[in-house]
Symmetry: C2
Subunit: 328 residues, 2 copies
């Protein structure tokens, strides 16, 4: 009987290879070297949801990455989840909502220009939409949750043209007012926040502005999709509840950024939270509700396919990602 | 500010719809109604791995499903993982191993005939191989872990022809000897085990038998892939260690059946374990090693994409499935 440890397995492998090299009569198929398409469908009542992955980030973790926790503690926590330290690899997951009458895209990813800049790590939304058979021109509505670049940059292509040429662009009114206000920009609390103001102005081209329609918290912005007030991450940060046929789903956008950090540690303050105290209060309120109601949730920075449930634990909230289903 | 509870969200939605029905000028794209292809690639050193999903089961949970735990307790545990009770939905995940010289398929799923019988829930391996661009005729080796139907039935197509016509079929020698022994069959401990003997005889057609090559525990059966002794689930149940370039992966087959049941509760005895006491001993030994070494593991019944790591907890082992990566 072979001892089942890795060390003996490797030693055993070396011995076996020396004793009896394996040969093949047929040529091997080539390695593919590319990932499968990154989309996933499921139903909420009669509404068809499609998570469309835009890729992942590769952000260095420094002492400011979590404002109130030192880098060493963040690294230790990442390792406890079997992730590499020092670099934050966070997923980006826009989502399609098809209610049978309208096709909406909620958030747009890092944008086509990011694809080469990131060496293919992100900026993949248009590729994955194509893999899912979705023509960008068939999208009726683009709905933004907030004005951070990874959510809005995909509104425009690398040549600054409209990525979704026939879509009305629905934006939270509070969010739009804040990031387009010159007075607010002049009072930006940090260079990072000032850069967000400038980026919003870059992405809100004349063509984009022509198609904008601000929406209010509490408004049903398409049949089955209602805007929910979840400020803190940004002043107008908005979540969406999808409801159909007695089922419902909470699209939490960035109520937590990556759940494997900020749901499990709801008191951690992410560097991109404009008001981290308000963000934490919103997070605890939403997550207490999600856990108590066992409500299905999807998050922009959740691991693909980005839908699941959350359990309240003694220290925070643990995400349970849905099991891949071969049928809808 | 909108109250963020599901009840008020639904009430608010009804009010908003009554107040301002949303209309669209453009026709919606049709709902797709089908899932994305179920395959996922990653590297172990220079070896390219591809998980190819065969679908999921839908098995009723009765008091014998876990031999030593009543149905009510199994149901309560499933609900704690946000899974539905009464029906066990367990994934099937064969895996391709391409070492650049040979392309091997480890385990074959429930078989093409299962596709219609299960109404598309399983029997999807050939479809997902096609989606991954893999011609069944290009597979050099089929490697079986053991002789349960969900691992071996895919050797033959619905018309009983060879599914992988050019492949040598590598089978664990202990396993083959047991399930093809008429004396062992005459002593089968239950109708379920007797049915496994008969199914093996059905699948081991003359064409299959011509291509069989038994292998031994400890043998490197293709460069980079070594057979590991993990008996209990069946007498010849075999795992495989994949090693390349200083990286390694433990393909655990059914050391635990579904990890969300049997890794988290290693003392639970699955109804299909031929020797549940030996299976538990193997499981604890392998999982203690996987947790201590933080070794990457893939399981046939792990949630797709079926690769991850395991953490030792106070009550068992918790699986952490890998985060989907858009690049290899």
């Amino acid at each position: 009987m072979v001892e089942i440890t890795r060390r003996s397995a490797l030693a055993g492998a070396a011995v076996a290879l020396a004793a009896a090299p394996v040969t093949s009569a047929s040529a091997a198929a080539p390695q593919a070297g590319a990932q499968a398409p990154g989309f996933y469908r499921y139903k909420v009542g009669d509404i068809e949801m499609t998570t469309v992955n835009d890729g992942v980030s590769a952000m260095p973790i420094d002492d400011g990455f979590v404002r109130n926790v030192p880098k060493a503690e963040v690294n230790a926590f990442l390792e406890s989840t079997f992730r590499a330290p020092n670099v934050y690899s966070g997923p980006y997951n826009p989502v399609l909502v098809n209610n049978g009458r309208q096709l909406a895209l909620i958030d747009t990813g890092t944008g086509e220009a990011a694809l080469s800049a990131s060496k293919g790590l992100n900026g993949r939304l248009l590729m994955n939409l194509a893999a899912a058979g979705v023509d960008p021109a068939s999208i009726d509505l683009v709905i933004l949750s907030h004005y951070h670049g990874d959510h809005m940059n995909g509104l425009i292509r690398a040549d600054n043209s409209l990525a979704f040429p026939n879509a009305e662009i629905l934006v939270p009114d509070v969010e739009h007012k804040f990031w387009t206000d010159d007075g607010e920009m002049s009072r930006a609390a940090s260079p990072r926040i000032e850069a967000t103001f400038k980026n919003a102005r870059r992405v809100l081209t004349a063509d984009v502005r022509k198609r904008l329609r601000p929406y209010a918290w509490g408004e049903e912005i398409m049949p089955g999709v209602t805007a929910m007030s979840t400020p803190g991450h940004t002043p107008g940060h908005t979540s969406h509840v999808v409801s159909s046929g007695g089922q419902s789903l909470y699209l939490q956008a960035d109520v937590t950024h990556a759940p494997f950090l900020f749901a499990r540690n709801p008191g951690w303050h992410f560097m991109l939270d404009v008001d981290p105290v308000a963000a934490e209060a919103t997070r605890r309120k939403v997550y207490d509700m999600l856990a108590a109601d066992r409500m299905m949730v999807q998050g922009f920075h959740y691991p693909f396919p980005a839908a699941g449930h959350v359990e309240k634990t003694s220290t925070g909230y643990l995400e349970h990602i849905v099991q891949w289903s071969p049928v809808l």
